[in-house]
Symmetry: C2
Subunit: 202 residues, 2 copies
């Protein structure tokens, strides 16, 4: 193929996670069939997002405003801070609709293998945030560590719990157990063990 | 989520084949980390493609020029026309590097189920093209029916072979080696090359 425009577009699309060169080609061919309804709106949405999206200086969420819509929302409970690894996790919890407090996005986990220490993550700003709120009229009462149940996620949770020890806030973690709608037969042994250990009266 | 820009972008990306809402979200989060290197170039490439890409009036290929680069290329053998279902198939054959003739893109196959008859496909233009070349100094010598080995693909091949019967051109098909039920776009280059080289009279 010598078609520069198309090749360049395929090359760029193929760099998105989840799309390889083959699916990028399919995507381009489908888009070309209806440039007005998909291709041009997508181009405009990408440009707009690139120009307008900011990182919230308070919690690390992505939004078109700083502080973000969640930090500014009047109805939310500022006494609860939910600590997550990535913005994707924040979005997942928001979709569940089960949490009405505020967030703090770490930007990853501690990792000995990848050489990521506490100073590469938004841990200092979390401690600051809790400390600053301590004397105010809206103190933080509980920090929920909603980190992944990987080794790195749990190491990070331990580390943060230790750093927060002096502040006097309650520290909690997500419950571990059988996923809703999950079949026991398909669960890994670790999850089954955790669910058994954490069993509750019916 | 109330972030309009981000949500709209995810919604549009999720409409691409191969990307669902979840992978669209991942793609957006990755892009936002580097707007200058991926997001803005992708926006520009999409707009450029939407504005510049044309369908070749001769063969049905997509290009930024009409006639397309393949139809205009001086080194190619105009005595050979390779008939394919979709532009994706043309690209697949071009990638194999095994064919140096010209193409004709049908835009699909005949299909009783989907109610697609000959008038919905570029079959008339193929017959015209062969007929017009007949008296000229560059007659078409052979038409290669490179259609999928699906029922619809083979029906279409039969139909075209019949319509071309009076023109006196040789008609060939890709050699067996194309897996039954397979689509050209998913074939590896080696199989495509072998099938082209071993083509047989229809």
């Amino acid at each position: 193929m010598t078609v520069g425009d198309i090749e360049r577009l395929i090359h760029l699309l193929a760099r998105l996670p989840g799309l390889g060169p083959r699916s990028a080609r399919r995507a381009v061919l489908q888009m070309i069939k209806r440039p007005e309804t998909l291709m041009l709106p997508l181009a405009a949405a990408l440009r707009q997002a690139a120009e307008n999206i900011l990182t919230c200086a308070t919690c690390g969420n992505l939004d078109t405003a700083n502080p973000c819509a969640i930090c500014r929302a009047p109805g939310r409970n500022a006494a609860l801070i939910c600590v997550v690894e990535e913005v994707a996790d924040l979005w997942a919890i928001e979709r569940s609709g089960a949490f009405k407090g505020l967030y703090h996005v770490l930007g990853g986990t501690l990792s000995a293998l990848d050489g990521r220490g506490p100073e590469q993550l938004n841990i200092g700003s979390l401690i600051d945030r809790v400390e600053r709120a301590r004397g105010s009229e809206a103190p933080v009462v509980e920090v929920i560590l909603a980190l992944g149940t990987t080794v790195d996620g749990q190491t990070t949770a331990h580390y943060i719990a230790e750093r927060l020890g002096d502040t006097g806030v309650a520290i909690s973690r997500l419950a571990q157990g059988v996923p809703v709608g999950g079949e026991l037969d398909y669960l890994d042994d670790g999850t089954l063990s955790a669910a058994l250990k954490a069993r509750r009266p019916a």
